[in-house]
């Protein structure tokens, strides 16, 4: 599981989290900028800082480009894993929804804090607010512009991809580009050339403060040229790096060189910002734009390489921070601005106030993440996974699988593509609790290819919990669930399963034929509806409303729904309850036919003869544990029970007290004795009762074995 690819994803997650958290520090510095006229930010602090201004400039060179670079990498990864449909569903939920909901909630709050802050700045009277520019598309996106920009880049990337797939069927062009990408990193030419489009866009700006770097496109819904070119290059290169198999390695190898060159370039840029803050047409502007482009890529490749070099191992803390970073970045702006406003007129040096703002903001933001986000719908939306917060650990503390961490650039949980041996479905080390009740206690069960596994156990043993885990209906508190080599939550895995559950009522207005047609529409390669009806044996009542069917007929209709998608794994939870003998025999025949076709089946049942008739293997579950598993014969041998029947004058009570006697029943004047020591009991029977007649000894059925086993467990 610890494959290098996963490790690299940890590192890239860390980089993305770093870029986002850097944004918090960046905006927290804004109230300390020297020389900013009142009104640009919510507060002008009485202790301005040239140092913070320089630091903000330096971080602003690369932080968003770094973010978009990682976003491009994860964008392609996600597209490969989910396909077009899954990709867009995922991105719309994790980018568009936070953009819209976030804006609706945050914008009024930001507005309020600005009103309070500016009232303070202007000594109590608020000057008239500057109006929104009257250009088409003008819209105050605030700091959420990056999500908006990202959506455009996804659209562009997918469009370009479609075009390339069409124009380059032989992959010649793509193979060449892959080599070019790796080569450009290794030779450091990439650092010098990747910034050229951005430099050109910056040179063409008529009004450019050097300090602002790439002008932030936060005031318009129309994509702005420098940002789209600069961040688009970063995104595209990230996408290509994911394509190319050696590019990450090259980035890792050249991390120091890239950072060193970035530092040199940045030093010169800082010098220019100090001496000539506003760009004038001429040589300096050209040189500044070119150096700026090189600095961007030096930092992007250098920091990514450093992370790959030093942060590739799993760390729970880093993972937590990376998980939190998306939420924190979304929510940070009003928080840092509010603290800036709060401390703005305190008579203290900025070196006290700025750390205070940072500490207070991060404390509040991490706390809000932990309490309001991590375990809730919001965390689900932003991170693709909900974590449990209090008490027990969420999952196995296995550090390796799936960089599930969040966010705008990253894909969310992945399916592990490993399946053990011939197993099509596995529960490994699973514990599941409901409140104080432990339904399953670190159990292991697996279903092998082409077999029928019967899960037996008394009510409340945990059978349905086990099935629910495999169906992805619930998540374990510990342990790993795999279904056909992936996660059961993954719709691609579920397209290969069929299911018949207990306690389900189908819509009573629809007919079995329609129910089957509807279920068939969920699968990519279902049986013909009539064929399904025939195999399930329900053609005679296929056109009667479901609500008017008998209990047994309803179960048969549900069986038809379960088998319509040509499942590779079929889960049958008590399938034959309420069926008459004929219907049950028909269902058994269908089940055997499915097994013959190579389908694997998990069956829970109370009818032991059903397990005896159908099962390759039996797992007996009691009190949340698997107390025995093996073939039907193994099961009998395990308990070594045999049944003695005889006519005798001895009473059942007498015999029950003998050693090695498991159970005694009186049926039709005959004693039926279940025992683990048949010879001993027979000897004693013959000795105690001279009139003993019709003695018979046989191997016990699964029924007796099962009773014995579950009684031991209790």
């Amino acid at each position: 599981m610890n494959n290098p690819q996963d490790q690299r994803l940890h590192a890239l997650d860390a980089v993305r989290g770093f870029a986002l958290l850097l944004g918090v520090a960046f905006h927290a510095a804004f109230s300390f900028m020297p020389g900013w006229p009142p009104g640009i930010w919510a507060m002008n602090d009485n202790s301005p800082s040239q140092f913070l201004s320089d630091a903000a400039f330096v971080t602003h060179i690369f932080r968003m480009s770094l973010f978009f670079f990682i976003a491009g990498y994860f964008g392609r990864l996600l597209y490969q894993r989910l396909g077009a449909g899954g990709f867009w569903t995922n991105r719309l939920m994790r980018i568009l929804v936070p953009l819209i909901v976030g804006w609706v909630i945050l914008y009024p709050i930001i507005g309020y804090i600005w009103t309070v802050g500016l009232t303070k700045v202007f000594g109590g009277t608020l000057p008239p607010m500057p109006e929104m520019p009257k250009t088409p598309g003008a819209f105050p996106l605030a700091h959420l512009w990056f999500l908006y920009q990202l959506l455009w880049l996804y659209v562009a990337a997918v469009a370009v991809r479609a075009l390339v797939v069409r124009l380059d069927p032989a992959q010649k062009l793509r193979g060449f580009v892959d080599k070019l990408v790796t080569g450009s990193i290794r030779t450091m030419i990439g650092m010098l050339t990747l910034g050229l489009p951005l430099a050109a866009a910056l040179m063409s700006l008529s009004f450019w403060f050097y300090w602002q770097g790439i002008p932030t496109p936060d005031m318009s819904l129309i994509p702005q040229v420098p940002a789209t070119v600069g961040f688009g290059t970063a995104f595209a290169f990230g996408w290509l790096v994911h394509r190319s198999s050696d590019a990450l390695k090259a980035i890792e190898q050249r991390w120091l060189q890239h950072i060193a060159l970035a530092i040199v370039a940045t030093a010169w840029l800082l010098h220019v910002v100090h001496t000539e803050p506003m760009a004038q047409p001429g040589q300096t502007k050209t040189l500044f734009a070119l150096t700026f482009g090189a600095a961007v890529w030096g930092w992007v490749l250098g920091l990514t390489g450093a992370a790959l070099r030093f942060l590739s191992n799993y760390s729970a803390t880093r993972r937590y921070i990376a998980d939190a970073s998306y939420w924190i970045y979304l929510a940070h702006l009003p928080v840092v601005a509010a603290f800036g406003v709060l401390v703005g007129h305190w008579q203290l040096h900025w070196s006290v106030k700025y750390p205070f703002i940072l500490i207070a903001s991060f404390a509040l933001l991490f706390l809000s993440y932990h309490l309001l986000v991590r375990g809730t719908v919001i965390g689900q939306l932003l991170n693709g996974r909900k974590h449990r917060i209090w008490g027990r650990k969420p999952e196995t503390p296995s550090p390796s699988p799936s960089p599930t961490s969040p966010g705008p650039g990253s894909p969310g949980p992945f399916a592990a593509n490993t399946a053990g041996g011939g197993a099509v479905a596995q529960l490994r080390g699973i514990t599941k609790r409901y409140g104080a009740v432990t339904a399953l206690n670190s159990i292991d069960i697996e279903v092998r290819r082409g077999e029928l596994l019967a899960v037996l156990g008394p009510n409340g043993a945990g059978k349905s919990t086990a099935i629910s885990l495999w169906l992805g209906l619930i998540e374990p508190d510990a342990g790993v669930v795999t279904l056909l080599g992936g996660e059961p939550q993954d719709i691609a895995q579920r397209r290969m399963l069929g299911v018949m559950m207990q306690d389900v009522e189908m819509p009573k207005e629809l007919r079995p034929r329609e129910l089957v047609a509807l279920a068939s529409s969920y699968y990519s390669n279902p049986l013909e509806v009539d064929e399904t009806l025939r195999r399930a044996g329900i053609l005679p009542f296929a056109d009667r409303p479901y609500g008017k069917l008998s209990g047994g007929q309803k179960r048969q209709a549900q069986f038809a729904v379960a088998i319509c998608g040509r499942p590779k794994v079929l889960f049958l939870d008590e399938p034959t309850v309420g069926l008459d003998i004929q219907a049950r025999a028909a269902m058994w025949t269908s089940i055997r036919a499915l097994l013959a076709d190579g389908c694997s089946i998990v069956l829970t049942t109370h009818y032991l003869e059903e397990a005896e008739a159908l099962a390759d293997r039996v797992a007996v579950v009691a009190k949340g544990r698997v107390i025995a598993s093996g073939s039907v014969d193994d099961m009998r041998a395990l308990v070594a029970c045999r049944q003695i029947s005889c006519e005798s004058s001895l009473t059942a009570e007498e015999v029950r007290s003998w050693p090695a006697v498991v159970e005694v029943a009186l049926e039709d004047q005959k004693l039926r004795i279940t025992t683990t020591d048949a010879e001993g009991v027979v000897r004693r029977l013959l000795a105690s009762d001279s009139r003993l007649a019709r003695l018979e000894v046989r191997q016990a059925g699964l029924n007796e074995a099962f009773n014995e086993l579950t009684r031991e467990a209790a």
């Binding site: 077009a84 719709i491 299911v499 629809l510 529409s521």
Partner: protein, 264 residues
């Protein structure tokens, strides 16, 4: 690398085709169920129509003849009620009942795309909304209590139809959160205050203007007023009305999809 890239194209296109099929089939059977069991919808269908008759024709009949704007106001109030109530209750209550039946648990276990279910519910909500709205507009026109031209009525009707979408989403959210017996109660709890506090049933005092945008009804009404060009009752720009409706739809639908895909 090559094989990987090619594979990804194949797998991307195959499931998408079947997903589209699931959307269409799900919607079709949702409508069939509705037609076969109309009992659920009838009370909700009749109420706005009855109330419009009572207020606009019986109580305020003469007043409308003097001030046609009042007629437009009342028509807007009860036609919005007709479509939104239908959308909310038609989707929310049935969804909650189906969850109680265990049907959603089954859907989640099957590879049913959660959004297919949502789309089907919204489609049937739209159909019910049309059925509820039609008698209101017919009576209004027949009684001559609606001083709008044909184009305005068409625009208004179209706006209402679009306006059902956030309420379908709201119904689904309630249906996915509450049980079958509790769902009607919760639906009323969130729906009725909105009817009054959005200024839909009677004009609000100025001191309460600030809170009107909280209610989806307000944005739907504003959207309809803009599209029909009824300037007298426009209180927020068209863009805000659209943003409000869109925002609520995304919010409610997002919660629903999340909830259905996780809990059932």
């Amino acid at each position: 690398m090559n094989a990987l890239a090619l594979n990804s194209v194949d797998t991307a296109s195959a499931p998408r085709a079947s997903a589209m099929g699931a959307y269409v089939t799900e919607t079709r059977y949702e409508l069939i169920r509705m037609i076969r069991n109309p009992g659920i919808a009838i009370p909700v269908l009749a109420l706005p129509f009855a109330l419009y008759g009572l207020f606009a024709l019986v109580i305020a009949g003469e007043a409308i003849d003097k001030d046609p704007n009042l007629g437009i106001f009342l028509f807007a109030a009860f036609s919005i009620m007709a479509v939104t109530m239908q959308a909310l209750f038609g989707t929310g209550v049935t969804l909650a009942l189906e969850r109680d039946m265990g049907l959603l648990r089954l859907k989640r276990a099957q590879p049913a795309p959660p959004a297919a279910w949502v789309v089907a519910k919204i489609a049937s909500g739209l159909v019910l909304a049309v059925l509820a709205y039609a008698p209101v507009v017919i009576v209004a026109l027949a009684a001559g209590k609606l001083a709008l031209d044909v184009g305005q009525i068409a625009a208004f009707s179209g706006a209402l139809l679009v306006g059902t979408i956030p309420f379908c989403a709201m119904g689904l959210m309630i249906g996915s959160l509450a049980s079958g017996s509790a769902a009607p109660g919760y639906a009323n709890l969130v729906y009725l205050p909105g009817c009054y506090l959005s200024g839909m049933f009677f004009p609000l005092p100025q001191s309460m203007y600030w809170q009107a945008p909280i209610w989806p009804q307000f944005h739907v009404e504003q959207f309809a007023m803009h599209l029909a060009g009824i300037t007298k009752y426009q209180y927020e720009p068209l863009s805000m009305a659209i943003a409000g409706m869109l925002g609520y739809t995304v919010l409610f639908a997002g919660i629903t999809v999340w909830r259905l895909s996780r809990k059932g």
